[in-house]
């Protein structure tokens, strides 16, 4: 099994941006489809005097609740996608890390669902504001999580844990190995090198008891925030 993110996502910021956007808009299309079909079902009932709609409103209420639920799902997706898009506004800024990771990982849930893997985020216990390059940090986390998803079997779990404070954070991505332990550091270093260089960060790997972890260490960046 390949244990690597899609090479296109490593080689281009735009490809990474496109992958996240395509995933979210695909999800939005499903939301619109459900709303369209559900509204259509109401129309069908109105047009068909023999439709099996009980005298009580339960069935209709069930359908309108479905529409409301999908509108809420769509609204949240748009909010998250908007937040992701705005992360490219400032090359370097003070960033609340729990929010950044929660948003990115929510957008990645579809990638996990496609592999029938559960993606779990364990935020830091308190808000963590770090001076960093948010868009590049998202790319690094996206690559690491994608690799973990690629190596994890169906029904497995990939966990992303945030620890640390304003001086620097550690982001630990834990999944299942698909490469021998000895090959992990070189493979991970190769595809995470460019974003981590920009983040002044480093990566290490650990593999034990059937699990592996990619640990990203991201310090407060030395550049002054305007």
């Amino acid at each position: 099994m390949p244990w690597s993110p899609d090479p296109r996502w490593r080689d281009s910021d735009l490809a990474f941006f496109g992958a996240v956007t395509a995933g979210a808009t695909h999800e939005l299309n499903n939301v619109f489809s459900i709303i369209e079909q559900t509204a259509g079902l109401l129309e069908d009932w109105c047009a068909d005097p023999e439709a099996d709609v009980p005298a009580g409103c339960d069935k209709i209420l069930n359908v309108t609740e479905r529409i409301a639920r999908q509108v809420q799902r769509g609204t949240e997706l748009v909010r998250r996608l908007n937040g992701f898009a705005h992360s490219a506004d400032e090359p370097c800024c003070n960033q609340e890390m729990n929010d950044l990771l929660e948003n990115l990982l929510a957008l990645m849930e579809r990638f996990a669902a496609q592999r029938r893997v559960r993606l779990v985020f364990e935020p830091a216990g308190a808000p963590v504001t770090l001076t960093t390059r948010p868009f590049i940090l998202e790319q690094a986390v996206f690559l690491a999580v994608s690799a973990a998803l690629a190596g994890t079997a169906a029904q497995g779990i990939v966990t992303v844990q945030l620890t640390g404070g304003g001086a620097g954070v550690e982001i630990t991505i834990t999944g299942a190995p698909a490469l021998p332990e000895a090959e992990l550091p070189a493979a991970v270093g190769a595809w995470l090198g460019p974003p981590l260089w920009n983040l002044e960060g480093r990566v290490r790997t650990a593999a034990r008891a059937g699990k592996y972890a990619i640990v990203l260490t991201i310090p407060k960046i030395s550049e002054e925030v305007p």
């Binding site: 395509a22 299309n29 068909d48 999908q70 496609q114």
Partner: protein, 125 residues
């Protein structure tokens, strides 16, 4: 009731159940499921004239599922349903043009009457 029996496969349960109810209101005998393995099992249990399947299913791609369906049940007509743009071009680029068994590519959101017409055309010609 039409004599056409169709299986709709999509991992969005609220979408697939609603589609099936609307297809039934238009006279088709429609069943649904939300995964590839379940679809293959249903096809073993009962004859279907057509399957409407989502291109992106968890654990198995719609194209791989379509290939397995065609192998085991060559008479079943396939209509692809997708929220992804440019699928027809992607199908055309597949080695050997792997699209001949796919009767239609429908882009979500799908108009119900268009879907009914496409199913009837695929099955009855």
């Amino acid at each position: 009731m039409d004599d056409i029996r169709v299986l709709v496969i999509d991992d969005e349960e609220e979408l697939v159940t609603t589609l099936v109810e609307r297809l039934a209101m238009r006279g088709l005998q429609a069943d649904w499921c939300t995964s590839g393995p379940e679809a293959l099992q249903r096809l073993e249990q009962r004859h279907y004239d057509a399957v409407v399947l989502d291109l992106k299913l968890p654990g198995i791609s719609g194209l791989e599922l379509q290939r397995r369906i065609q192998q085991a049940h060559p008479g079943v007509k396939t209509l692809l349903m997708t929220g992804q743009g440019g699928v027809e071009e992607e199908l055309a680029r597949l080695p050997g043009g792997a699209a001949p068994d796919i009767r239609e590519v429908l882009y979500k959101p799908v108009n119900i009457q268009v879907l009914v017409d496409k199913i009837r055309t695929a099955v009855k010609g």
